[in-house]
Symmetry: C2
Subunit: 387 residues, 2 copies
């Protein structure tokens, strides 16, 4: 049923890994690639590696990600981190809409996105950031930017992207999506979107902290200016001219030298996604998330916060439970890795390339045992304070 | 005489690599580390890697770099690219000096630095960027920021950092140094400097495009605000609060999730530097650069543009020659890798950890043969246009 499991390097023999929504597993192909990258490309080829292909990586892998998100070649670039990319595109959008100083977002957006917007208030003093319960209803001709997480990191709720894009466009507002919890998890069609950013280390299996990507609709690219003008966004960078002259396409949103090893390691995971296809992944995601929601965990005090409609959720299922922290620790000890999100959420990530029904069943059996035996009571009741 | 050569992985057997000023070689220790990072830390430990040490890497390696540049622990952080770091610190400096809108720099600064400043003119409309031939002479009470490359990327000229820092401080101006061509090449004492950024993939041997570092003097840290407010700069990031509350120390200049593999691979090269010590490296650099300058290459039409005083240069020697492009190609074919910088410069980088007198002698012999035989005339006369 799941022919992709063997394409990932083995972890602990008995482990059920339900945290691919936080850090995806290691594709087998990435093992050979990393050796080749470090030991041959860096070690032997040295500076010649740039001519051998390093220089093309951000665009080449970007084009592959484009195929996963309904974008065109030349619309997606691998660069920087998700937060830096969000900053670049949000500033660009606000600069190109000088008469609009309102960003519509929501409290359920990933906090880093909200922090980025808050920082923009020093640059744009009259900028209003609206945290809205129902963002689509307040989009108006005052709105510069509508920026939401496509799938919420806590609840797993998925926005109806096309509807929101249409309303925003009708009002003359830009859209800027954070796809971190949806890329590689659910089908995405960016054709109606203006801008997007996203993460490669979750469902794309790109490696810890792997660089992020950004998307800008082709027609918009010439109108938007990268506020962080570095030499990788410069036309004819190796002429070393004194004046910045941005590249014409998506490369203008590049800044500094990309971290080659971490960038290159994104590709094997993306290739696996393309091989499996988003239709297959989506169908499997739907079945497997449903298994978790239908497991009657309410009997143990779990409250699902993830939508029951499979088309209104992503690829993780979240339960609230007063003992979520201890249950999370007990699960890890029992060989199931979920994740905990403050204050009382347990997230279970479904990644169809390496998780199937038997894994979900095993994880549920271990969880039921922990709840019936109250084994979680052996763990500290609250999370240590991290400063 | 050079006991560190064997600590680097072998490249082509006959290669003399004089481009460590552009991309440093692969430390042997990085080979084992990269396998362990990818195959064990990512592949087996998965998300648990963050608790095993990934989260500390930017500060831990930063503290080691601090020891190379005369900074204190807690003053240096590995993050982003050099250009992104320069942007963050330059914005922070200008925001904290609202009555000063002048940056003093020079045409010899690395162009990416100039591009970053030019981009700031959209944010700070009355910002003046002065390209000065003798920057120290024009620092005044109007100056917000003096920002220079410590060692010039083309000529190898080295500024007298302490003198400039003193004049700037007396005028109430901030200093922001780009150490890309000096860190790991020459002794640096940042104790009189306010801010700095630098590159890890050149003399530090951190790997292709390896993430950069930034330095902020401890007393300044609370006064400066990172304009790119991401979750890695947030106190108690895993509380996922809705409002940005920056970390108190150097971590406030962090933004997004760091690219772990590329970050971790910086450490072996830095460790080798610390083991050799900057005094030894500096003494060797001085001798080896002198060999190049004393080789009487003027006889073949080479004009040295690097200062004759060893304390006024870095660790590369640059010659102007009308045929620099073709000579560069002929050298590569002859097993010597220099680099070419437009319009007519040949740079020869000296990296004492893996280059010694016999390497320099061999390289010079090959160069002399190329010039005597006019072998360079077999190559295209000008560089292909790269767009």
């Amino acid at each position: 049923m799941n022919s992709y499991k063997s394409r990932f390097a083995p972890s602990d023999s008995d482990l059920i890994y339900l945290d691919g929504n936080s850090l995806g597993r290691l594709p087998q192909a990435a093992v050979a690639l990393s050796r080749q990258l470090v030991e041959e490309q860096w070690g032997i080829r040295l500076i010649r590696g740039w001519n051998d292909g390093w220089i093309d990586l951000p665009r080449r892998i970007g084009d592959k990600i484009a195929a996963l998100v309904g974008a065109q070649p030349g619309e997606v670039l691998v660069a920087d981190s998700t937060s830096v990319n969000l900053y670049k595109l949000a500033v660009a959008a606000l600069e190109s809409r000088p008469n609009r100083r309102e960003i519509i977002t929501e409290a359920e957006n990933f906090p880093s996105d909200l922090y980025i917007f808050q920082g923009l208030q020093r640059r744009f003093p009259n900028l209003t950031i609206r945290l809205e319960v129902d963002p689509i209803t307040v989009i108006s001709e005052k709105t510069a930017l509508v920026s939401l997480s496509h799938v919420h990191f806590k609840s797993g709720y998925r926005h109806s992207m096309v509807t929101i894009n249409q309303v925003a466009r009708d009002a003359g507002a830009y859209t800027l999506w954070d796809l971190s919890h949806s890329v590689g998890a659910v089908p995405i069609d960016l054709s109606s979107a203006d801008m997007a950013v996203g993460c490669t280390y979750k469902y794309l299996n790109g490696g810890p902290g792997a660089p992020a990507f950004l998307y800008v609709r082709k027609e918009l690219q010439p109108q938007l200016q990268n506020p962080i003008q570095g030499w990788f966004g410069q036309r004819k960078a190796f002429d070393f001219g004194l004046d910045y002259e941005p590249q014409t396409g998506i490369d203008r949103f590049s800044v500094g030298t990309p971290p080659v090893v971490s960038v290159a390691l994104i590709e094997p995971g993306v290739d696996l996604m393309l091989e499996a296809g988003m239709d297959w992944i989506d169908a499997r995601r739907s079945v497997l998330t449903e298994m978790l929601l239908q497991a009657n965990l309410e009997a143990y005090g779990f409250q699902p916060v993830t939508p029951t409609d499979p088309n209104a959720r992503g690829s993780h299922v979240t339960f609230a439970h007063p003992e979520a922290w201890r249950i999370n620790l007990a699960l890890i000890q029992a060989g199931v890795i979920p994740d905990f999100r403050a204050p009382n959420f347990l997230r279970l990530g479904v990644t169809p390339l390496y998780i199937d029904e038997s894994d979900i069943e095993t994880a549920l059996n271990r969880l039921r045992y922990i709840m019936q035996s109250r084994a979680y009571e052996n763990f500290p009741a609250s999370r240590p304070t991290v400063t």
